[in-house]
Amino acid sequence: MQQTVYKVIGVVLVLYSLIFGLLTSIPDLPIIEESIRNLFYHVSMWFAMVAMMAGSFAYSIAFLRKENLYTDRRTAALTETGMLFAFLGLFTGMIWARFTWGAWWTNDPKLNGSAITILIYLAYFILRNGIEDERKKARISAVYNIFAFVMMIVFIGILPRMTDSLHPGNGGNPGFNSYDLDNRLRLIFYPAVIGWILIGTWIASLRYRIKNLSIT
């Protein structure tokens, strides 16, 4: 085991958020009601995803500077883990949407933006698999990864806030900002986000080490 401390902290923080996320008292919100607790579970998936992608973005830049193939493997491992969180976020969001908006999917800018983001990152893997030469593969996918990260920020961070969106926290809806004022929620949400990011880092590090093992 390498660097056990952050893994233990991650497990403890997530466990804390899972348990106390159900026990904490919540603000009285119309329509959202008890599902505000999804803030600890669904929203933390997206935060973990963005963190993984930010990591892969940083390693992509690092790769282009030094052209070290180990760095490229870190990028790929982080992007794969980010995709896991993206799909978990997408599916948990769909469950919530079904019982809040009455449909599994709506043409909401936030939802479509996250779907486009997932498609952009899926193309990253297709691009990687399409190139035989290791160096060429690493270089081209690093450039693409930088592009993908910027697109992600635009599609899930900027566009939904500029147009009307039904999603909590967007388009003037009561959401993240008003929950943010509630310290009861903050006390569980922030540890959940940090915990999931640490768990994601752990998963990504395992994938990275497997990649190193399977090569040579």
Binding site: M1, Q2, K7, V11, L18, L22, I203, L206
Partner: protein, 62 residues
């Protein structure tokens, strides 16, 4: 007194039993759900831990 309690609980309907003072029965059994979630998550964490150990072993072999 203990016998009285036993006869009461033995004949009491389930709902009455559920309202007993036991911690796990309180709050509509939400703690049972929490225990289930905790077991699942700890199981997954343990799985990650075992995988980590196995990868370390493979790395040491190399």
């Amino acid at each position: 007194m203990k016998n009285l309690f036993l006869t009461l609980t033995a004949t009491a309907p389930i709902s009455l039993l559920a309202q007993s003072k036991n911690f796990m029965y309180s709050e509509g059994k939400i703690y049972v759900v929490i225990a289930v979630i905790a077991v699942i998550f700890l199981g997954l964490a343990g799985y990650l831990y075992r995988m980590d150990r196995k990868i370390s072993a493979l790395e040491n072999e190399k």
